[in-house]
C-alpha cells in the first residue's frame, strides 16, 4: 500500500472513530479521550515540516468542522506537528533509526518505553494547549489542570492499546545510512 493511500485511510478512520465513538465518552463529566492525533504521531520521519504542519492543521480543522467550532483542535494539532521532530530527536536511541524505519512505532523507537514517552509528551502538549484555549473562556484554573492530567492519562492508555492491537508492520530498510 502506498504511503499516500495509507495516510488518507488513516486520516478518515481516525476522524470517524473520534467523532462517532470517543466524542460520546464523557467520564465523570470531564474526561473525553482523544486519539485522532495519532495521525500526526504516525507521520513519517522524513518530509517537509511545514507541509506536515499544514496537514495537521487540516486534520484539526476537520474535527472542528464536526464540532461546529473552528480553531481549538487545529491550533493543538499544529503545535503537536511542530514539536514532534524535536521529541523524536530527543528520544530516538538507535543509530540511524529514522533512516531505517519509515515512521515512529514501538519498534522503530527501540522499545515500548521510548514510544510511551514520545506519545506521552505529545499527548500532554496536545491536551494542555487544547484545554488551555478552553480554559481561557471559562477561566477555572484547577479544573483545567485536573482535566488535562486525567485526559492525558486516559488518552495515553488508549494510544498504547492501539499500538498493541494494531502492530504496524514496518520493513527494515537496509543500506540507507
Amino acid at each position: 500500500m502506498g504511503t499516500l493511500l495509507k495516510n488518507m485511510l488513516r486520516f478518515i478512520l481516525l476522524i470517524l472513530v473520534q467523532v462517532y465513538v470517543l466524542d460520546r465518552i464523557h467520564l465523570h463529566y470531564m474526561v473525553t479521550p482523544y486519539i485522532y492525533f495519532l495521525f500526526i504521531l504516525w507521520m513519517p520521519f522524513e518530509g517537509n515540516r511545514a507541509f506536515q504542519m499544514l496537514i495537521a492543521f487540516a486534520l484539526g480543522f476537520t474535527l472542528d468542522g464536526f464540532r461546529h467550532h473552528p480553531g481549538f483542535h487545529s491550533a493543538a494539532c499544529v503545535l503537536v506537528a511542530y514539536l514532534r521532530p524535536f521529541v523524536v530527536n530527543l528520544l530516538i536511541s538507535q543509530q540511524g533509526a529514522e533512516n531505517n524505519y519509515q515512521e515512529p512505532s514501538a519498534k522503530s523507537m527501540g522499545g515500548f518505553i521510548p514510544y510511551l514517552v514520545y506519545a506521552g509528551m505529545l499527548t500532554l502538549v496536545h491536551h494542555g494547549w487544547l484545554f488551555f484555549l478552553e480554559a481561557m473562556q471559562f477561566g477555572d484554573f484547577w479544573y483545567f489542570i485536573v482535566k488535562t492530567v486525567f485526559s492525558t492519562a486516559i488518552s495515553l492508555l488508549l494510544i498504547m492499546i492501539v499500538e498493541l492491537l494494531f502492530s504496524r508492520k514496518q520493513a527494515f530498510r537496509t543500506n540507507t545510512v
Partner: protein
C-alpha cells in the same frame, strides 16, 4: 537583504507555526463572523451528510426512548383537544384585545417546525446540535428550539440550505431569560461548562423565595421563546457571597444526552417587535 532571506530560511518552520496558530486562534475568537463565511456553509453541508448516515444507526438503537417521548407528548396534546372542554356559559362574549383577528378570533404568533437531530454533543465546553432542516425548509436564524416535551434546548445560530446548527444551552455564550414559576422573579440561565443537564440561573435576588424542585420557565421577554416553556427545576441553591444574588443550579428539562427530534419555534411577529425596538432606540439616541 541577504540576511533577511537567511533569517526566513532558518526560521521558516517557526513562522509557519506562528501563522497557523494565529489563524486558528483568530477563528476561535471570531467564530461568529466565521459563521457567515462560505466555508462554514460548505463544512456544515459535508458534516451534515456524514452525520445523517451515522445517525441512522444511532437512531435505531434509541427507538425505544424516542417512542416513550412521543407517547408522553401525544398524551399532552390529546389533553389540549377542544373536545375535552365544555363551554359553561354561552351568554358571555369573550373580547380579544388583538385587533388583527382571523375568522376564528385568534392570530397565530408561534409556529413549530419539527426536525431530526443529526449530530449532538455534550462533552465539549461549547456544544452545538445540527438538525436536518435549513433555510429551504423554513428554519430561520434566532429561532428557539425545544425538545418534544417543550423543554428548552437552544437557539438556531447558523442556517444552511438543508441543515441548521443550534447553539445548545450547554454553551458558554448561551443566555436565556428565565422566570421562577413561584415568585415571578426574572433571571438568566447560563451554563458553567462542567456538567451536562445542569444549568445555572443567575441574577435572582436573595429576597426571592426559592425552594428545591421549583420550576423555572422562559420569561417571554425575548422574541426567541414564547412564555412558559420549561427550562428546568431547581436542584441546588447556593448563596453568592460576593453579591446579593443566588446562584441556582437547575436540572434541565431537556435531556441533552438523547435528543432525537426537536421543534424549532418561529416567531411570526419578530420583525415587527424588532422594528419597534429599533425605532425606539433611534429616538432615544437622537
Amino acid at each position: 537583504m541577504h540576511n533577511l532571506f537567511l533569517f526566513f530560511r532558518r526560521y521558516f518552520n517557526f513562522i509557519v507555526l506562528l501563522l497557523l496558530q494565529g489563524f486558528s486562534i483568530y477563528l476561535l475568537v471570531h467564530y461568529n463572523s466565521y459563521h457567515n463565511a462560505l466555508a462554514s456553509n460548505f463544512m456544515n453541508e459535508v458534516t451534515g451528510r456524514v452525520n445523517t448516515q451515522f445517525n441512522k444507526v444511532d437512531y435505531f438503537f434509541k427507538l425505544r426512548n424516542t417512542n416513550e417521548v412521543l407517547i408522553k407528548n401525544n398524551e399532552r396534546l390529546v389533553n389540549l383537544l377542544n373536545e375535552n372542554f365544555e363551554k359553561q356559559d354561552t351568554s358571555t362574549k369573550i373580547v380579544s384585545e388583538n385587533i388583527f383577528n382571523d375568522t376564528t378570533g385568534r392570530k397565530r404568533k408561534w409556529q413549530y417546525f419539527s426536525a431530526k437531530v443529526v449530530s449532538n454533543s455534550v462533552a465539549a465546553q461549547n456544544n452545538f446540535i445540527a438538525i436536518n432542516r435549513g433555510a429551504g425548509q423554513q428554519i430561520k436564524k434566532d429561532d428557539g428550539v425545544v425538545d418534544l416535551n417543550n423543554g428548552v434546548v437552544g437557539i438556531v445560530t447558523e442556517v444552511g440550505e438543508n441543515y441548521s446548527v443550534i447553539m445548545s444551552l450547554l454553551h458558554k455564550d448561551s443566555k436565556i431569560s428565565a422566570k421562577l414559576k413561584k415568585g415571578g422573579e426574572v433571571g438568566q440561565v447560563i451554563w458553567d461548562g462542567k456538567e451536562p443537564n445542569r444549568l445555572s440561573l443567575i441574577e435572582i435576588r436573595k429576597s426571592a423565595l426559592v425552594a428545591k424542585g421549583d420550576t423555572v420557565y422562559t420569561s417571554g421577554f425575548t422574541t426567541t421563546f414564547p412564555y412558559g416553556l420549561m427550562i428546568g427545576t431547581i436542584d441546588e441553591i447556593v448563596k453568592d457571597k460576593s453579591t446579593n444574588n443566588y446562584i441556582l443550579y437547575l436540572k434541565s428539562t431537556a435531556n441533552f444526552y438523547n435528543l432525537q427530534y426537536v421543534n424549532a419555534i418561529e416567531n411570526l411577529q419578530r420583525e415587527e417587535v424588532d422594528q419597534l425596538l429599533k425605532n425606539a432606540n433611534i429616538k432615544v439616541n437622537n
